[in-house]
């Protein structure tokens, strides 16, 4: 017989109590994992940003456009490798609940600047050739059952009217963190229409994306771009793609902080539940610990049994919680794909699950172990019978 065997047997002595505690920890770890994944998903755009990409936008606000003519001026700035541009279209697919991030883009450069969006050469060429075509991400195509050749109609909210696009390509993400829910179409197609319907908006873009030759030069290049357009009718702000994305996230930072706090509150609650279980267990076994002390087991042995039992129960719950997190995150991610295009359980989340479980297991056992070690054998023996 080994001490480990005694540990496991002790852990399941009160099957109902242990099962309920394990269930509680499972739910807590699942909730913690999902909440942490929500936080990660919130920052997914920031995390997947490239260090070599800059975003140049109107200094007043993102809703004000920039002249297309800036493109060539930006390209001539030392340190600039490529320039692309895009405009937020804000079209709705069938109804408003079907949110799709859709952009009018420079089709010739978009896939060069975003190599993480992988499109076959055939599909890329077909997309470039057809001005009324579009390309969609794999996830969004799957969600709506789109196939190459299908016509997708977006209802314009910023640019009124029904806009028909023929799907010419479906891109895939190069990384797990690549967003596969976007839709791109020709900026030229949008511009043609604007020239007829809203001439003041024609030949303007939402922002420029600049690829720099060396990420170390990013801040110098950004400063040079903004200096170029200083005192012009449309002054610019150029920042890294990460800072640009972060700007959007910071608008909702209070929600992220709240989610973070709730995730830690869940752990504190389960810590209290676990501590209660261990306190009951140790109280019931005070006599038994006294017996073990009479046999020569020292305080460290007794403390080891209590800490070990607490950790075993905690980690069983943790393992089940982690196992449940993946399918739950998949289901949650599918259901919430409109809001969280990337909803992957991060490795860091699992590490945090394990760390939280370890802390719960240890903290829950501290007081019961201290009490069991401190109680004298004579006092312990008096509680038997």
């Amino acid at each position: 017989m080994q001490i480990l065997k005694l540990l496991f047997k002790n852990s399941f002595r009160h099957k109902l109590r242990t099962s309920l505690t394990v269930f509680g920890i499972t739910i807590a770890i699942l909730a913690f994992g999902l909440l942490r994944t929500v936080v990660s998903a919130w920052y997914a755009g920031v995390e997947s940003s490239s260090a070599s990409r800059l975003v140049t936008r109107n200094s007043i606000s993102i809703i004000f456009f920039l002249p297309l003519s800036y493109k060539e001026k930006i390209r001539q700035i030392p340190g600039v490798k490529d320039v692309s541009y895009a405009t937020w279209f804000g079209g709705v697919y069938i109804s408003e609940k079907n949110f799709i991030p859709n952009f009018a883009v420079d089709v010739k450069t978009v896939f060069d600047l975003w190599p993480e969006f992988v499109l076959s050469e055939d599909q890329k060429n077909a997309f470039i050739r057809d001005r009324k075509s579009c390309v969609a991400g794999r996830k969004i195509a799957q969600k709506y059952g789109w196939k190459i050749g299908d016509t997708i109609t977006l209802k314009g909210t910023i640019f009124p009217g029904n806009w028909d696009f023929v799907l010419r390509g479906i891109y895939k993400g190069k990384y797990k963190s690549s967003d596969e829910t976007q839709l791109f179409f020709h900026w030229d197609y949008l511009n043609e229409s604007l020239k007829k319907t809203a001439t003041n908006r024609a030949d303007h873009v939402g922002w420029f994306t600049v690829n720099v030759t060396n990420p170390d030069l990013a801040s110098d290049v950004a400063a040079a771009i903004d200096k170029t357009f200083k005192n012009s009718l449309a002054e610019t702000i150029t920042e890294t793609e990460k800072a640009f994305q972060m700007g959007f996230v910071s608008m909702t930072e209070a929600i992220v902080i709240a989610v973070r706090i709730v995730s830690f509150v869940v752990i504190v609650i389960i810590m209290a539940v676990m501590a209660n279980t261990m306190a009951m267990t140790a109280r019931e076994r005070i006599g038994e610990y006294a017996i073990m002390k009479t046999l020569g087991f020292g305080g460290w042995h007794i403390a080891g049994l209590i800490f070990g039992e607490s950790l075993i129960i905690s980690f069983i719950g943790c393992a089940l919680g982690i196992a449940a997190t993946y399918p739950a995150a998949n289901a949650f991610g599918d259901a919430m794909s409109t809001y969280f295009p990337i909803f992957n359980v991060q490795r860091e989340t699992i590490y945090m699950d394990i760390a939280a479980t370890f802390i719960v297991g240890i903290v829950a056992a501290v007081f019961p172990a201290w009490r069991a070690v401190k109680v004298s054998i004579a006092d312990g023996l008096r509680r038997i019978g």
């Binding site: 017989m1 047997k9 002595r13 073990m292 046999l295 020569g296 020292g298 004579a378 023996l381």
Partner: protein, 233 residues
């Protein structure tokens, strides 16, 4: 007549307990020698201090003053850790309510004290099988306490008490929870441990029939050891 050496030597022992602000004397000026290979019964009314004296001999309680020497070692000078180590090799305990660990089999319960020794798994197995054979429970090794009768459980507890081969066994009302037949079996077994294995047994009991098995009977009353020594041999 052969003179036996004293394995337990108690001198001027005092012990009291605190209850609130009150100090209640439990044992007063106890001086007692117990010879090696002796079976001694300690009798007395409830609250006379029998169990306290037994606990002090076994090193599981602290004296107020006086000394307790076991096999020449003054255990009152040992630290908690030192006492725990000392107990594991010098003392075997037998309790009234057996106090077996319910989730462990008879074999595993008897093996428990051996986990503190440096014995290999194989050696431990040999020791446990031998101990359970002596208490006549070889066929119940894999049984859990709940699957054993009271008498059988007490025999497992006795096997656990002597499996590390301590010189002294202390027993606190070992037959107190047993029917007459089982009690007789236990007392016979304890007698065998004294005669065949050379153990020294100190037994606290209320039961005169149990005490009859002992070589010597000492009486405690209100914490004072009666000077009269009753010999049953």
């Amino acid at each position: 007549m052969e003179t036996k050496t004293a394995i337990v030597q108690i001198k001027n022992l005092f012990k009291s307990y605190k209850r609130g602000n009150q100090i209640i004397p439990v044992l007063q000026d106890i001086t007692l020698d117990i010879a090696d290979n002796e079976f001694m019964a300690l009798m007395g009314p409830s609250g006379s201090g029998k169990s306290t004296l037994l606990n002090l001999i076994a090193g599981i309680d602290k004296v107020d003053s006086g000394s307790v020497s076991i096999e020449g070692i003054d255990i009152t000078s040992l630290s908690e850790t030192g006492l725990a180590k000392w107990r594991s090799s010098h003392i075997g305990f037998i309790f009234q309510f057996y106090n077996l660990i319910p989730v462990l089999t008879a074999f595993e319960n008897a093996e428990l004290p051996l986990l503190l020794t440096g014995l290999s798994r194989k050696e431990r197995k040999e020791h446990v099988e031998m101990a359970l054979q002596i208490v006549n429970l070889s066929d119940r090794m894999k049984h859990y306490p709940s699957q054993l009768s009271g008498g059988q459980q007490q025999r497992v507890a006795i096997a656990r008490a002597f499996v590390t081969d301590p010189a002294i066994l202390v027993a606190d009302e070992p037959t107190g929870d047993l029917d007459r037949a089982s009690a007789k079996e236990i007392l016979d077994l304890m007698e065998r441990l004294v005669h065949e294995l050379g153990k020294t047994i100190i037994m606290v009991t209320h039961d005169p029939r149990a005490a009859e098995k002992a070589h010597i009977i000492r009486h405690l009353d209100k914490g004072i050891l009666n000077a009269n020594t009753q010999t049953s041999l």
